[in-house]
Symmetry: C2
Amino acid sequence: MNEQDFLAGYDPRNYPAVAVTVDVVALTIREGALHLLLIRRGAPPYEGHWALPGGFVRPDEDLSAGARRELAEETGLGGDRLRRVHLEQLGSYGSPDRDPRMRVVSVAHLAFAPDLPDPAAGTDAEDAAWLPVTALTSRQLAFDHARIIDDGLERARSKLEYTPLATRFLEPEFTITELRAVYETVWGHPLHAGNFHRKVLSVPGFVESTGASTERGGARGGPRAKLYRAGDARLLHPALLRPAREETVR
Amino acid sequence: MNEQDFLAGYDPRNYPAVAVTVDVVALTIREGALHLLLIRRGAPPYEGHWALPGGFVRPDEDLSAGARRELAEETGLGGDRLRRVHLEQLGSYGSPDRDPRMRVVSVAHLAFAPDLPDPAAGTDAEDAAWLPVTALTSRQLAFDHARIIDDGLERARSKLEYTPLATRFLEPEFTITELRAVYETVWGHPLHAGNFHRKVLSVPGFVESTGASTERGGARGGPRAKLYRAGDARLLHPALLRPAREETVR
DNA sequence: TAGGTTGTTCTCACATTGAGTTGTTCTCAG
DNA sequence: CTGAGAACAACTCAATGTGAGAACAACCTA
């Protein structure tokens, strides 16, 4: 910020009116499919469309605090379960015409959560729902939220490669197979079970054994699986390799 | 955004006063060292400190357009040379107290540019300068700009791994050695010349040969180097590996 | 012209990956 | 209770990629 800005700096009304909101792309895995928390709009613009949970940043709160608050309001989540949700900033969206009412800059966030209960009726989130991401067309979505969701999904896919955040989609204790299912769901690709197993255990700090095993084998048979919890690595070295998408041959 | 937000949605003055600015972490390489474009503040707060180039988003401009405009204003750059500068969004910074005057949310951007002339005297950027990043202490920097710069540097380091953006620090035609120097400068690590050469040429779409060579050999001898230009890949597969930093042993 | 420097190409040992196989433990159906 | 099928975990082996060093020719300066 330079000198002129400073001279104009004391009366907010000297500034162009810009509203700042936080929106949240909250992802979870249900029944083997990636789901997204959305809210059905009850008023124009985009009445009846689905929109990301979000709202205005409050004067005294940080951007990330605002995002976590919005997430709590719409999911009814609190305390420890809320704290275990991974939340990171995704990016800001501020095209002049993205909201027809006024200039709104939205700071989008990305959240990874274990399978959560449906948004509690009785909260102000009557029309909130977890929807499978594959069931969404951009036409059903309000504002530029289709774009934000696309960016969020791509970020999620790429974060699984080099961070241990896949564990955030699971309960604190999980099996390697459950972890693999997260990867397969988010990446949309089957993975080789043996190689995945070897890789996860060989990357330092990814997972650590609890010593325990599951009470029962899988629903359709198989031995009891060993249980693991997330390790203390924040970055995976070496990273997992996402199966290459088909490249356009040049 | 939900229903209540909509009901309040028509009069900007119903909103908390928030200003939105764009700041730019502009990086270039000069004399083998990574440099950063900074502006010396001429008025409080933080008078005499260095700050990132930036300013308010205009009512009719996109966030990225604002960032490019600020960059143009401070560097005196225009036309094709401005267009060749890589610009991407870095993240938004909005702690309630980051600016003592009022609530300011800054959308930071990251720019990679080839070695540029010093900011032209005569523009309004009298006190703009390219400074080596190693010469900066966080105490000399205004607001939370030290944090933003740190984030920008880490982003730059990591982007060189999996994108061909290192080429954006160079002129359109360059040698492999020049490209390697970019990596060594940004990563702060010497790289094995032979292995780097092999790697760059083996990753599809990273560089393509122009067929030409440099007019002369290096200043201290050696053969003429072949010239390359950036290929059309936007992502590098497989990525380059950044030499591992020393891990804290657990 | 000599000596040092640099761009480029090799070689080889080693680590990682992809794909498939094996053995064992478990659930379910009959 | 038993057999069939499923899943966890461990292995093998070929193919690929990497790190480290060496070779060699082209080029500069002195």
